[in-house]
């Protein structure tokens, strides 16, 4: 899908699904950590909810809940999928 404009994970709203396309992270350690946690290109994750103070945000990734700060979710690109079933 080269025509689809990729969006940042940080732009996705609570409750939305998000399919990861790429991680644009220079810091090798961080990238590895995110990959290990399941933020892998091709995977679909769900935006669960924001912390009371607005950041970080919790995501459901391969059946677990992981929180990321905006600094990280800004660099995860992919496609927002609005959940029509709800």
């Amino acid at each position: 899908m080269p025509s689809v404009k990729l969006q940042r994970l940080s732009e996705a709203e609570e409750g939305e699904h998000f399919r990861i396309e790429k991680l644009d992270i220079k810091d090798g350690t961080m990238k590895r950590r995110l990959l290990d946690l399941g933020f892998v290109p091709g995977c679909e994750i769900i935006v669960l909810q924001k912390s009371p103070l607005g950041d970080p945000t919790a995501y459901r990734v391969s059946n677990t809940t992981i929180a990321l700060r905006k600094e990280e979710s800004d660099h995860i690109y992919g496609e927002r999928i609005c959940d029509d079933n709800k």
Binding site: T29, R32, R33, D36, L37, G38, V61, S62, N63, T64
Partner: protein, 243 residues
């Protein structure tokens, strides 16, 4: 009746109940809490089963063994260089998918693996059903469903450990197929790895780690084979980097 001593390593993601299982088996009381990272230093304990004495090592909980952090390095080095007789990978049955990643990584490193599906009670409550037999078939190693905190399945686990150290279980760990590109590189690299480090270490895994540029593994090998020549190189590696 001879008594042998075997080493059993416990690996697993953080928060999968490794410490609980450790406490159940060794009778020790390591602190357990529900937050990631509470086992910061690895703990050792002992137990005896069927006339054999076991040393149990509770490795730090890690998401992976690709040495992103000191914890992962500790766990990886123990499995590779400590050569435990059995490595138990404790998986959280309620989040099997992510947990399996670690199991697959461990299976690349050693074939004496028992996969322990912990938190089966939680999984049941959540309506998750796991076909342990099929999983064992897929992974090529024994899979034991347990609930460490309810002390369920512990006996089956002990029996499996016993059978494994006695050589009664033949495992055939699954081999993860990588992209053709990576597989090709590995094909070239594996003979070279065998040439350099011999057969004592899993060549395919070492090749994979080298492709990934794992510096910490390199350093671990440096320390392991300090042939005179290399020891000097290593010693002056910092100051006179002529290579």
């Amino acid at each position: 009746m001879t008594t042998n001593e075997y080493t059993v390593a416990l690996a697993g993601n953080p928060n999968t109940g490794k410490s609980t299982l450790f406490n159940v088996l060794t009778g020790l009381s390591q602190h357990t809490g529900n937050w990631p990272g509470k086992t910061v230093v690895y703990a050792e304990g002992f137990f005896t089963y069927n006339h054999n004495r076991y040393k149990m090592v509770d490795l730090p909980g890690t998401y992976s063994l690709y040495s992103n952090s000191a914890d992962e390095e500790v766990a990886r080095n123990f499995i590779i260089f400590g050569k435990p007789d059995v490595t138990i990978v404790v998986l959280d049955a309620t989040a099997l998918e992510r947990n399996l990643n670690l199991a697959l990584q461990v299976l690349e490193m050693t074939s004496s693996v028992i996969v322990c599906l912990n938190l089966m009670d939680e999984a049941k409550k959540k309506g998750i059903r796991i076909d342990a037999g099929k999983l064992a078939e897929k992974l090529g190693v024994p899979v034991v469903p347990i609930s460490a905190r309810n002390k369920e399945g512990i006996d089956a686990l002990l029996k499996t450990i016993d059978a494994m150290v006695c050589g009664k279980i033949k495992t055939k760990p699954i081999v993860v197929r990588y992209s053709p590109e990576i597989e090709q590189c590995m094909e070239k690299l594996i003979p070279r790895v065998k040439e350099v480090i011999g057969d004592a270490y899993p060549a395919r895994w070492v090749a994979l780690r080298l492709l990934d540029g794992d510096m910490s593994l390199l350093h671990a090998f440096y320390k392991l084979f300090p042939s005179k020549k290399e020891a000097t190189v290593y010693a002056c590696d910092g100051s006179a980097k002529s290579i």
